[in-house]
Amino acid sequence: MRPTTKKLAVLGLCTAVALILAYVESMLPPLFHAVPGIKIGLPNIIIVFVLYRFGLREAAAVSLIRMLAVSFLFGNMMALVYSLAGAFLSMAVMAVFKKLNFLSVVGVSVAGGVFHNVGQILTAMLLLGTAELGYYLIVLAITGTVSGIFVGLCGAIIVKRIPKKLI
């Protein structure tokens, strides 16, 4: 399954846009100072778009490359571990829900958003060895739902508006 040149170019473009969105998001002021880690997850709009337009393999590839690039550019390696764990679980859950075909883009995105946080917290629990982080997960599950709705709506609009002929 060799990708066509066009597909490769488009996926590269998507990765670049996801990177820019990650950069834009890093410049936004934090929403709540009290609870760190609450993010809208703007790059996930692109991930959702790629997942729906191309498929799981492509979305996973874009997601992985974008996280590696973000970590090398702005973050540190510790953040990468959390991101990878979150993204892996998120991608797997989104793929399952998409396959089940009873949720729209929004629902799938919400599942992805929540499980992104679940993956990160589970990793933190394993690495830090504290069970108290469970409280934190509840807060993040709610914010993950809200940001998942936002990301899903944006993703759905983009999937709808960008014609198949173009990409």
Binding site: Y52, L103, V110, G129, I138
Partner: protein, 140 residues
């Protein structure tokens, strides 16, 4: 034919049905999260110290392990009094000179996050757990 259409374009036409599913899914998710939160709240651990703050600034920290009696004097000349008693790992306000006496009527507190508030005197007594011991709770 129609079914095929729904499968290929999840956002189009039959989006109404999918949207309803989304709402159900999100609602279910929030219910599960709330239940988890409730469980955490009900089964939260016992704290091991109480922190007293007066008008937002810390007044003192007392261990729940030792029985003590603390007179919290507030107001300009220390004329406002709340007597905090720690006994058998529980903290309560024994007597208070505040007009409403709500703090003195409050049940003893010992669980993490519980608090007794005396609004007239701006006194807040909250149970905390001392941060991290060296040994991890779970080993994986």
């Amino acid at each position: 034919m129609m079914n095929q259409e729904v499968k290929s374009t999840p956002t189009a036409k039959n989006g109404g049905r999918l949207f309803r599913n989304d709402v159900i899914f999100i609602a279910a998710l929030l219910v599960v999260v709330s239940l988890c939160g409730l469980c955490f709240y009900l089964f939260r651990g016992e704290g091991d110290k109480v922190v007293v703050t007066v008008d937002g600034t810390e007044y003192g920290t007392y261990s729940l392990a030792e029985d003590v009696r603390v007179e919290i004097r507030t107001g300009e000349a220390g004329e406002e009094l709340n007597v905090l008693v720690i006994k058998d790992g529980q903290a309560y306000v024994e007597t208070a000179t505040c007009p409403d006496g709500i703090c003195a009527g409050h049940k003893p507190i010992s669980r993490e996050g519980e608090s007794i508030v005396c609004l007239p005197h701006k006194v807040v007594i909250t149970v905390y757990t001392t941060e991290e011991k060296d040994a991890p709770d779970i080993v994986v």
